[in-house]
């Protein structure tokens, strides 16, 4: 399903904090995450055990999700992080962090691991 | 070239040292450990400069400029993509400023508009401007922490507080700027009259000048209160000036006794040529000719293509932006309950009546104020002139030929109406040295160190490749211009910082500061504790945050 992704800063999902003090697992839990409206939850036929597969022309990533009725329908929010970086992009020398068109589906695959993301960066394939 | 402990002997130069009444005498200057001495203590390692046929003068001193403040950065930001600004003003980087000042023979500058909250920024900039000695004046005109004391006329308390502020911020003196005019934030209308009570405060703006002047005298600070008149370049400014002059007449303070390290004046008027925009300077001339209590700096106009406006004067700024209707790209900042700042660019034109008046006023005042020790040369740099205009400006003062030639294509109305356009008087070379060197030092209370060549003074010296005695300053003005364009040597604390084309930037100047008369801790804490409370209640930071954590090696305290 097509959605709009916005990256945001949240005090409890702050990559700076995570890098600072936490274990990798904890970091993955707090940063590999998307927030969506319960109505979208229904539209995506999600069940709590599923994960979200988010993708666009620039890349893709699998993350956990949480429902939050404050979030408008059709919007997915993610903390600024390595995970969100998989779908952000550059336009006119600016990094686009907001209003990013993405495709979101439920998946049974586990959330993308930190080392997978780092390997992706290091690998030569673009 | 500039090793420590290098002793210098400048031989056979023609010396002008107005302070010691030496007017063009052939004389040796001896320098040991950065100080001018009568005799060397040892004869080893003396470097000699042969100054035969050259003229020796003290290094120049700027009593009023704006080069190290946050506002300067707003100018740089506005000028970032401005070709004219970048090519003619070198983007005014710290290094550029230092180089230009040294090239023009300066070793000391006074940053004339610093809000206490931003003092750290200025000090930080100072440290990164090499070679020059510097001082800053704290702008307290709109300083709300003082409102209550001004209302209650607690002048001694004000003096105590100023002293503490100066020692925290490492300021040198104070500037009074459009007193409490920033109350305007509430009603967006320029005030009519500084003789009336304010709306958000309960006293007359004009009283603030008086109170501060008295406070500075209690502290006996090296420099007097440095006053900016609200509404410069505007007729309103003339009225405000007249109000202040009247106020000063009523101020009964004992006449100051002038000594080597003491100033004469109790009030310094900033860029006085901008105050009578009708071109009639009688008020200032008469007042100064009858009264040694006031002195003025004259900010000469160089008619540059582009000049940065650095001001905190709302009336002036709204006038000037009105006249540039299309230009809206002002940077305006209101700062921490201490006042506003306005930044943009302007252009001075020889066919603009008003610009010519500003130009003419400076010359008029320079010629007609009798006691040249009451006048200081400035540029209100960078607002009124570029430093590299100085050689040209000097010729207008020394040579009527140069001046009349320059006036040829000036505004017609100006040439017809204004008396200076027919005045044939000129200054002599000694007067020029007073204006640019000795008098600023005196007004700043620094004659003990600067602006003269007597024994014990700091060895801040210029050597000009010209023998003033052998030329006709009127006719040979081109030669004078050249001599000042290429000052052969600039010496700072005994170090040669400029020799011909070569400028050495590895010397670090000092930051001059003063807290004035000493008060006991008890006296101080009575006042300061109240101020602490004020800060705690109304400020975004605690009073102690004003403390400047700066290495002593950068500082020089003036008692």
């Amino acid at each position: 399903m097509e959605m709009i992704l916005n990256t945001i800063r949240l005090i409890n999902n702050d990559q700076n904090v995570e890098w600072n003090c936490q274990d990798v697992e904890f970091m993955e839990e707090h940063l590999a995450i998307g927030f969506i409206n319960p109505l979208d939850f229904k539209k995506l036929y999600l069940v709590p055990s599923l994960k979200l597969h988010i993708s666009n022309n620039h890349g893709d990533v699998i993350v956990n999700f949480k429902q939050d009725s404050k979030i408008p329908e059709g919007i997915i929010l993610m903390p600024v992080s390595l995970w969100a970086n998989q779908v952000t992009y550059v336009k006119n020398n600016n990094i686009i962090y907001k209003n990013i068109k993405v495709n979101v589906e439920g998946t049974r695959d586990p959330p993308t691991k930190l080392n997978e993301l780092i390997e992706k960066i290091k690998s030569d394939k673009i | 070239m500039s090793k420590k402990g290098n002793n210098l002997l400048i031989k056979n130069g023609l010396v002008f040292d107005p302070f010691s009444n030496i007017i063009g005498e052939k004389k040796d200057i001896l320098i040991e450990n950065g100080i001018i001495v009568e005799k060397f203590t040892s004869n080893n390692d003396i470097k000699e400069i042969n100054a035969e046929n050259k003229t020796i003068i003290p290094a120049a001193i700027d009593i009023h400029c704006h080069i190290a403040s946050q506002q300067m950065n707003w100018i740089r930001l506005l000028g970032k993509n401005n070709q004219e600004f970048n090519s003619n003003w070198g983007a005014l980087t710290s290094e550029y400023i230092a180089k230009e000042y040294i090239s023009q023979g300066y070793t000391f500058i006074t940053e004339a508009n610093v809000y206490p909250s931003l003092a750290k920024h200025t000090i930080f900039n100072f440290i990164n401007i090499p070679v020059l000695d510097k001082a800053m004046l704290l702008n307290l005109g709109n300083f709300w922490p003082l409102e209550f004391d001004i209302e209650k006329k607690k002048t001694k308390d004000i003096a105590l507080f100023i002293s503490d502020l100066l020692s925290k911020c490492k300021g040198f003196g104070i500037k009074i700027y459009n007193p409490f005019e920033s109350e305007i934030w509430n009603f967006n209308k320029l005030r009519e009259d500084i003789n009336k009570n304010g709306i958000l405060y309960n006293f007359k703006a004009i009283n603030v000048y008086k109170t501060f002047i008295e406070a500075v005298e209690i502290l006996d600070l090296p420099h007097s209160a440095h006053c900016h008149i609200e509404g410069y370049e505007n007729l309103e400014g003339k009225e405000n000036l007249n109000s202040l002059l009247k106020e000063l007449d009523n101020l009964k303070l004992d006449a100051r006794t002038s000594t080597k390290d003491k100033r004469n004046q109790i009030c310094h008027l900033a860029h006085a040529n901008s105050l009578n925009i009708d071109g009639n300077n009688k008020n200032i001339i008469n007042n100064l000719n009858n009264n040694s209590n006031i002195d003025v700096d004259l900010a000469f106009i160089g008619f540059d293509k582009i000049n940065p406006i650095i001001t905190s004067d709302r009336r002036f700024f709204s006038d000037i932006t009105d006249s540039y209707k299309k230009k809206k790209n002002n940077i305006i900042n209101s700062n921490e309950f201490e006042g506003d700042s306005y930044s943009n660019f302007r252009e001075f034109k020889k066919n603009e009546y008003k610009d010519c008046i500003l130009w003419g006023n400076a010359i008029d005042l320079a010629l007609n104020i009798k006691n040249k020790w009451q006048i200081q040369f400035s540029l209100n740099f960078p607002h009124y002139s570029h430093l590299n205009d100085i050689p040209k400006i000097i010729t207008w003062l020394l040579s009527k030929d140069a001046r009349f030639k320059f006036m040829e294509n000036m505004n017609n109305k100006f040439l017809k109406n204004i008396s200076i356009s027919t005045n044939e008087d000129v200054l002599n070379f000694n007067d020029l040295i007073i204006l640019t060197r000795s008098s600023p030092a005196k007004s700043l209370g620094l004659s003990k160190f600067k602006g003269n060549l007597s024994n014990g003074s700091e060895a801040d010296i210029n050597i000009l490749n010209i023998n003033i005695d052998k030329i006709d300053t009127n006719k040979d003005y081109k030669l004078i211009e050249k001599a000042f364009e290429y000052i052969e040597y600039v010496i700072k604390n005994g170090y040669i910082v400029k020799k011909e084309d070569k400028i050495l930037m590895n010397h670090q100047g000092k930051i001059f500061w003063s807290e004035g008369k000493y008060f006991t801790e008890e006296e101080k804490s009575r006042v300061i504790n109240k101020k602490r409370e004020f800060y705690q209640k109304y400020y975004s930071y605690f009073y102690n945050m004003l403390d400047n954590d700066i290495d002593q090696k950068y500082l020089k305290k003036i008692e």
């Binding site: 800063r9 952000t88 686009i96 | 700062n335």
Partner: protein
């Protein structure tokens, strides 16, 4: 023996100076008054992810180096580079920033700060259009309307509200009672939780802020009625109230956030907002309206000022033959064009902030990382030089978000053999000068 000190927090750009700590000779025992973010900053001291020795990556993985060797290695890598980048600089002191600029000048680098992809865009537009800004004490004492536009400061600058909204001022004696709040955002962020009945919550459709600003510009000029159906998801009544607030408040402060910076319109929303501010300042017959930029890193503003006074530019500075030259690049375009052969990253973590495509290019060339803790960038850096934490383990000057300079103090000793950014950069500069 333990002592109590009042210190300044460098957890974010607010630089709160009212934090109380209790410490003994070696360590901080207790921290009082800091927010969660501030506490996290102090947690860095003993973080298990702290870097405690220089590290070098070769084929066998990360190797611990002696300092002298590490510095030599750094110099060698730098000297081999023809087109180095220096990036970050928002979390070091001004003194260190000046040194970084000097190094950039020495090695003809391209130097840029985090501000380029953040609040710096505001200043760039202000350099063309001008700007009216203000500072915190002004807001405390004068503001009766605060507008958050696309910024969620409760989570980014946690104590800003308590300074500017929940405070009494000399001309605002009743405090919060008289200080109104408007928040514009695409959803009800945590910041909305402070709202009272008189405040105005504006939920706007994503990416339509510019429409709202344009409409407000028309409306405040008069002679304009809002469409009955409202615009961009905002009711007509709310639009009316917005306009009334703008016209009748005495002292308005707008805090613009990333949401405005990141409009697809590429800066146009900012231009419109600056125009709205100009317009209101001209037509209103009481009060004034100004902007307060809310960058997050504690010394992001500092770099702009240091760069301006040293080079005349606030960011994205290309040095050539020791002079700063004209360049239209920023850090992103330099990387995208692969116009670099080394990056020196100071106190930041671009790998966690840059899109994948950019990170990939960045990681394809050597990286020297100067920082105090592990990060995404740490995982791919070639040479890692650890430093102490400014504001805790060493002192320095920083600029608060409103451009007011604040002194940071040294409170405790850094871990052994760990020097400050300043000392480290000075050593690098000295060795380069040799």
């Amino acid at each position: 023996m333990s002592e109590q000190l009042k210190i300044t927090c460098s957890g974010c750009s607010l630089l709160c100076d009212d934090i109380i700590i209790i410490k003994d000779d070696k360590e901080i025992k207790e921290i009082l008054g800091a927010c969660q973010k501030g506490i996290n900053k102090f947690n860095q001291i003993k973080s298990k992810n702290r870097i405690l020795s220089p590290l070098y990556k070769d084929k066998g993985g990360l190797k611990v180096l002696e300092w002298d060797l590490a510095l030599n290695k750094a110099i060698q890598i730098i000297k081999n580079a023809k087109k180095p980048l220096i990036y970050g600089l928002s979390t070091i002191s001004c003194e260190s920033q000046i040194l970084a600029l000097k190094i950039a000048k020495k090695i003809d680098a391209f130097i840029d700060s985090n501000s380029t992809i953040c609040q710096g865009k505001f200043l760039n537009i202000a350099s063309e259009m001008g700007i009216t800004t203000t500072t915190l004490t002004e807001i405390i004492n004068k503001s009766d309307l605060i507008i958050l536009w696309g910024t969620n400061i409760v989570e980014s600058i946690p104590r800003l509200f308590s300074k500017i909204l929940f405070s009494r001022g000399k001309f605002r004696m009743t405090g919060r009672e008289i200080k109104n709040l408007i928040i514009v955002d695409i959803y009800k962020t945590a910041s909305f939780k402070v709202m009272g009945t008189r405040d105005l919550a504006i939920i706007i459709r994503p990416n339509e802020d510019i429409e709202l600003i344009k409409i407000l510009k028309k409306a405040v000029k008069g002679d304009y009625t809002f469409p009955n159906e409202g615009i961009s998801g905002i009711d007509k009544q709310d639009l009316e109230r917005f306009k009334t607030f703008l016209l009748n408040s005495e002292h308005i402060t707008i805090l613009p956030g990333q949401a405005l910076l990141n409009q697809k319109t590429n800066g146009d929303a900012i231009k419109e907002l600056l125009e709205l501010v100009n317009l209101l300042n001209n037509i209103k017959n009481n009060g004034r309206i100004s902007l307060l930029m809310v960058g997050g890193h504690y010394n992001m503003v500092g770099f702009e000022h240091m760069a301006l006074s040293e080079t005349g530019k606030n960011q994205s500075i290309q040095f050539k033959n020791g002079e700063s030259i004209k360049s239209d690049d920023n850090i992103i375009s330099k990387i995208q064009k692969e116009d670099f052969d080394l990056s020196i990253i100071i106190g930041t973590d671009p790998i966690s902030h840059f899109p994948l495509e950019i990170s990939k290019i960045l990681s394809s060339k050597p990286i020297i990382l100067i920082d105090n803790k592990k990060s995404g960038t740490f995982l791919i850096a070639t040479l890692i030089l650890p430093t102490s934490i400014t504001g805790i383990e060493n002192k320095g000057l920083a600029f608060r978000l409103d451009h007011v300079p604040i002194q940071l103090k040294k409170i405790i000793e850094p871990p052994s053999l760990i020097q400050s950014d300043y000392e480290l950069l000075q050593k690098i500069l000295d060795r380069l000068n040799k």
